[in-house]
Each structure stands twice: as C-alpha cells, then as structure tokens.
C-alpha cells in the first residue's frame, strides 16, 4: 500500500455521498489497487482522532467520532416572556390542580389553545397528572417541582389565598376598583 493510494482512498471516501464498497473505491483509484491495505492504513491513522474510518457491512465511510457527538449540536437559549393567556392558565392550574383543560376554560371564561399548555410544559412548570374519571377521561394538569422553584415557593400552600388577594386589592372588580380610587365615601359593599 503506497501513501499515494491511501491519499486517493481518503479523498474519495471524504467526497462520497454514501458509504463505498471496495469495488466502488477501485472504480475511482484503480482496478488493481490494494484498497483493503489502504483502508487498514487509514483506519490506524484516524484511530483516536476527531474523525474515524468505519466499516458498515461491506462499505466504508468517514464519520465524526461518536464521543464528540455532543459538540455537533449547540444549544441556544432565548429568553421569552409568558403570554397573558399562558400566565393565566398557569395560575389556574396552580390554584386548582389537578385540573382539566375544560375546567381551566370554565374558570378563565375563554378558550385556551393547545399551544398554551404546551408552552407551560416546555417551560417545565406543568405536567400531565392523570385523567379525570368522567366521560371522555380528560387529561388533568398539575404544577411541577420546577414551578415551585422558579417562583420561589416552598409549596403550593405558599400561594396567597383568596382573602390575601382581596386584601391586596387584586380581586377588586375593575369598576369598583376605579370607584375606590375616585371616592372616599365607599364602604365595603357586602
């Protein structure tokens, strides 16, 4: 096996669009060539490098070393803000879990798209939590450990209750809240 032949086989395998057999290699580098010897030399040469010469059945090709596969993909994180529908859906799941999509819609008063729950699952905040034993057996959703840690909660009991929300003015119907700002004679209506 000459160096010239190894170079030739190396180049042909590199440029090939699919693994090549000994016969196909010979068609490029010469019918009499000791292609097998050249392949053996190349196999040794590339052992332990970033590229490897490998045999698949009776065909040969180059591939990147298997242990470096993780370098070929690169993760990129884009930070994105949850939509209003997303945050509302998450809130309902957190306060009412486990809860079905139909129940979420009933509470929100608006339909939610499939994508909304998908985003919450992608974020790692929501998980499927079994099925409700009613006709249709709808899937229920619940929050995850990731949800608690993202929002800095020890448990779901740390979520402010309805009374807390009311005290914080977060439950005031919009029109009343407006009146409260403009008039001081308002007392609790209940």
């Amino acid at each position: 096996m000459s160096d010239a032949l190894a170079r030739a086989v190396e180049a042909v395998l590199f440029a090939a669009e699919a693994p090549l057999s000994i016969e196909e290699l010979r068609a490029h580098v010469g019918a009499q060539a000791d292609v097998r010897g050249a392949l053996a030399a190349l196999e040794r040469f590339y052992a332990g490098r970033g590229i490897e010469l490998v045999r698949r059945g009776e065909r040969w090709h180059f591939q990147t070393a298997a242990d470096l596969a993780h370098l070929l993909r690169r993760d990129r994180e884009d930070s994105r803000k949850l939509s209003r529908a997303g945050i509302e859906t998450l809130a309902i799941i957190a306060y009412h879990e486990p809860v079905t999509r139909a129940e979420i819609e009933a509470i929100r008063g608006v339909q939610i798209s499939k994508g909304t729950i998908d985003v919450l699952m992608e974020a790692g905040w929501v998980r499927p939590a079994g099925r409700r034993e009613v006709p249709g057996r709808p899937l229920m959703y619940a929050t995850t450990q990731g949800f608690l840690s993202h929002f800095g909660l020890a448990s779901r009991r740390d979520l402010p209750g309805i009374d807390d929300l009311k005290a914080a003015g977060l439950l005031d119907p919009v029109d009343l809240a407006l009146e409260a700002e403009t008039s001081e004679t308002v007392t609790d209506g209940e």
């Binding site: 930070s79 949850l82 945050i87 957190a94």
Partner: protein, 244 residues
C-alpha cells in the same frame, strides 16, 4: 493589414463583443506589449476591417461605425500639423485608448486565470455527506410570581358573580318618614305644607331623600284615612291635615 488578419476577421465577425473587443483583438495581432502598441497601425487595421465588412455588405452595428468615425478623426489629428490650443491633444486621446485596451486585456487575463483555478465542485470537493451541525433553540420562559398572582386575581375578579355595590348614602327610609309624619301631624291643628315635616337640619341629598319619603308617607297615611291632602293646582304647595 495582413491578408491573414482580414480572413480571420471575416470569419469571426459574429464573435466580437463591441468595438473595444475588436480593437483589443487587432492590437494583440501586433504581437507587442500593449504599452508599445502603434495606435496609428491599430486605427488602420480597424478602418480596414470596417471597409472590408462594407464591401462584403455585412451589417455592422452602429457602435462599430461610431468608433470608426472617431478613429478616423484621431488618425487625421495625429497626422496633421497640430493646433497646440486643442485639448485634449490627439496624443492624450491615443493614450486613453491604449489604457482602455490594457485594462480590458488585464481583466480578460485575470478572468481566465480565475476560472482555471482549482474550483470547488470541479477540482476540489467538500465532504459528500456531512453530519451537519445543529443549533437547538431552547426558550427560557420567564414569569414573575407577581404576574402569576395578579393573573389569578384578574381571573377571579372577571369570573366571580358580578355584585353591584351602591355606595352608601344618607337616606330617610319610607318607614322612618311614616313614623315622623304620623307623630308630627297629630300635634298640628291646621293645614301644613309637607316640607314642614322635614327635619330642620336636613340639607342636600338627605333633604331630597327626606322630602321624597315624606311625600310617599303622606300618600300612604291619606290612603289609610289618617290625613287629608289639599293642593290648589299641579306643582302648588301640598297641604296636609290630621283627620283625627
């Protein structure tokens, strides 16, 4: 002009890309460096070519004839006694033509060397079956605890049974008015206007409320036969008197 050149030109007339291209081909026939070229000889050759084309009745594009006219002018300017006032001088025009030919020639040769290089996909090859690199985009979703709580408050507020809360106002209820009017009417012997039954300090909205309630109260008492009412005309003062 040599016989050979004329023959060649006759055959290749379709191939020229304009007069400058033709001039360059003629210049190269002189087989000297373009810097040493004889412009006069070149002009002779070009005009010879154009005349030959005419005698052969070949159709020449207008730009060839324009160039021929310009070259004929240049030739006479170069040969005739010159007018030193004239600018640009014929020598400058000749030099300009020579520079243009040099430039075109340089680019023609550069192009030839460029396409003769080892070219990707023809002489050298990239990897035939690359694994490819992947960029995996991951969204990092962001939301604050306040957003979450505020969202729940918003939903609850939106979907709880709507409760209309009327702000508290100082009013005199009907019961209160009946009681007042019943008590006061007995202590008066003569006709009295309704307004005289209102609390002395009643003012503003409370006075209006008291008046409305007292009016309804006297109607109720009249219905019960406890008082009688008198009014001269619509909107005139309303008088009340006890029947007991």
């Amino acid at each position: 002009m040599s016989e050979d050149a004329a023959e060649t030109l006759k055959i290749e007339i379709e191939g020229w890309e304009g007069p400058l291209d033709l001039l360059l081909a003629l210049a190269r026939n002189q087989k000297v460096d373009l810097r040493q070229i004889s412009i006069l000889e070149l002009v002779e050759q070009y005009l010879g070519f154009v005349n030959q084309a005419r005698t052969l009745q070949l159709e020449l594009a207008a730009d060839y004839l324009v160039m021929a006219a310009w070259l004929a002018f240049l030739k006479s300017a170069l040969l005739l006694p010159r007018n030193p006032e004239e600018t640009p001088s014929p020598e400058e025009l000749a030099l300009r033509l020579q520079l243009r030919l040099e430039r075109l020639n340089a680019m023609r040769e550069a192009g030839a060397r460029l396409v003769a290089r080892d070219r990707m996909g023809r002489d050298v090859f990239p990897r035939g079956n690359p694994e490819g690199l992947r960029v995996v985009r991951q969204a990092r979703w962001e939301a604050e605890i306040f957003d979450l709580i505020a969202a729940y408050g918003r939903i609850s507020a939106r979907t709880r049974p709507v409760m209309h809360v009327v702000a508290h106002r100082d009013v005199m209820t009907l019961e209160e008015a009946i009681e007042r009017v019943s008590a006061l009417v007995g202590s008066q012997v003569d006709w009295s206007v309704v307004e005289s039954f209102l609390p002395a300090d009643a003012a503003g909205l409370y006075r209006k409320s008291a008046l409305a309630s007292s009016f309804v109260a006297v109607l109720e008492l009249a219905r019960q036969g406890k008082v009688e009412l008198r009014q001269k005309s619509p909107f005139a003062p309303l008088y009340v008197r006890s029947l007991q």
